[in-house]
Amino acid sequence: MPRNLGDVVDYFLPRAGAAPPARRARSSDGPPRPAGDRPAALPIVALPVGERDVVRAAFAWNLAVEVSRLGACATLLAPADAASAPLWPESGPGPVGTEVVMTEAGDLPELGRAALDLAVSRAAECEAGGLVLVRVPPAWLAGGSDSRALLRWVLLFTAGEPREMLEAYALAKAVFARHPEARVGITIHGARRIADAEQAFHRLADVALRHLGRSFVSYGLLVDDLHVYRGIVARRPIGLEHPQSRAARALRDVARLLLEDAGRWPVA
């Protein structure tokens, strides 16, 4: 069901005061969670990102950092192919405890198993809960293999340009073909106004409803501002380098929406 994008007010409203302090990802002061409600596995969010897609890879990593900054655990899992290696930071713990893990998985089922293993092991370690974000090579979605565990929850980044929306729609269609009950979320990037992002999301959702009989979940918008590109070049998270930038605040909003839904709809 479409979410009201107006709730990502950080995009426009200046924030008074200092940035929230960076927290350890595996602390116990994360999002409220009923006592004794620790899941057996952290939710897995699949992110289709191409092997040379620098911008979306940067969004994925920065999103993971923002999840950590909100007090939850964030692990980013990616296939260790040579072509996409320059996209990701070194394996291991990174800023605010955000972890990058490379896997030798060579197809979707292997990647799904690696993600599930990680989701189970991190769930045991993270009292505050969290997310496992998994970079999925888009070409793998074309395979006919069983990948339902990995594709239960998918987040697509798309700009509002028709060609990008076409691509996002096609990816969503491929996901639904492999997992008809998948929750497919859309985050619009590159929007200059909330109204533009809303319009793009609703157009995409409308086409999906008419042709696929499925709807998308809105996960807000991201801003392609200068800090994103500086952050990509410097390989430094935007949320730490420029915590008050619009880009960082928009990322935090998306991270918050993901964590809220992770608590609302346990999917792993």
Binding site: E51, L141, A142, R163, L166, A170, K173
Partner: protein
């Protein structure tokens, strides 16, 4: 998604065979009357005969050869024109009409704006362009040929160059969308579309 992917062109002999077959489907009224003809300093890939008796010189280029191909086409057209009467003597019943003249058809993976502008200035009775792409599926390699229509340089340039791959690295062929689904987004991109 269909198991169809863009691929490199096969060896030239096979490429020409595939292109001739594809051209026969696109322009069924054309009839190939000569292949691999040594023309002006170079070979003409094939010569076809059109319904009105006009000869058509067909040249196939590779990526980046489009501009050279335009010059070669004009040279080959100039070379063949005076020889048509000789050809008619050799094959009087072939249907060739030397007075109908010669035109050239160029097949190339993409055409730059200069080639498009040249073709536009010369007109379709002198020079026509068509782009081709090689695709591989379970049955092997095949070629997709797309005639470049119209005379507006800018619009043609967009059509002639294969669209940029998506950020995901996927191509249009990988997406597996129906024409109706594509139209939903093409409508947004058109000048009169609802994109705002």
């Amino acid at each position: 998604m269909p198991e169809l992917a863009l691929c490199d062109a096969p060896p030239r002999r096979e490429l020409l065979r595939l292109l001739r077959a594809s051209a026969a489907g696109l322009w069924p009224a054309q009839r190939v009357i000569a292949e691999d003809v040594l023309g002006a300093e170079a070979k003409i890939d094939w010569v076809a005969l059109e319904p009105g008796g006009r000869a058509c010189v067909v040249l196939v280029g590779e990526q980046g050869e489009d501009l050279e191909l335009v010059a070669r086409a004009l040279a080959q057209r100039a070379w063949l024109g005076p020889r048509l009467r000789d050809w008619l003597q050799i094959a009087p019943r072939i249907g060739l009409r030397p007075e109908a003249g010669v035109r050239a058809l160029l097949l190339c993976p993409a055409f730059r704006s200069e080639a498009l502008a040249a073709a536009s200035a010369l007109g379709p009775d002198v020079l026509s362009l068509a782009s081709y792409r090689c695709v591989r599926d379970a049955a092997g390699v095949s070629v997709l040929v797309e005639p470049i229509r119209g005379a507006s340089g800018a619009a043609e340039a967009i059509e002639a160059h294969p669209p940029e791959p998506f950020r995901t690295g996927l191509s249009d062929l990988d997406l597996g969308l129906t024409p109706d689904e594509r139209r939903e987004f093409e409508r947004l991109a058109s000048p009169g579309g609802v994109s705002g």
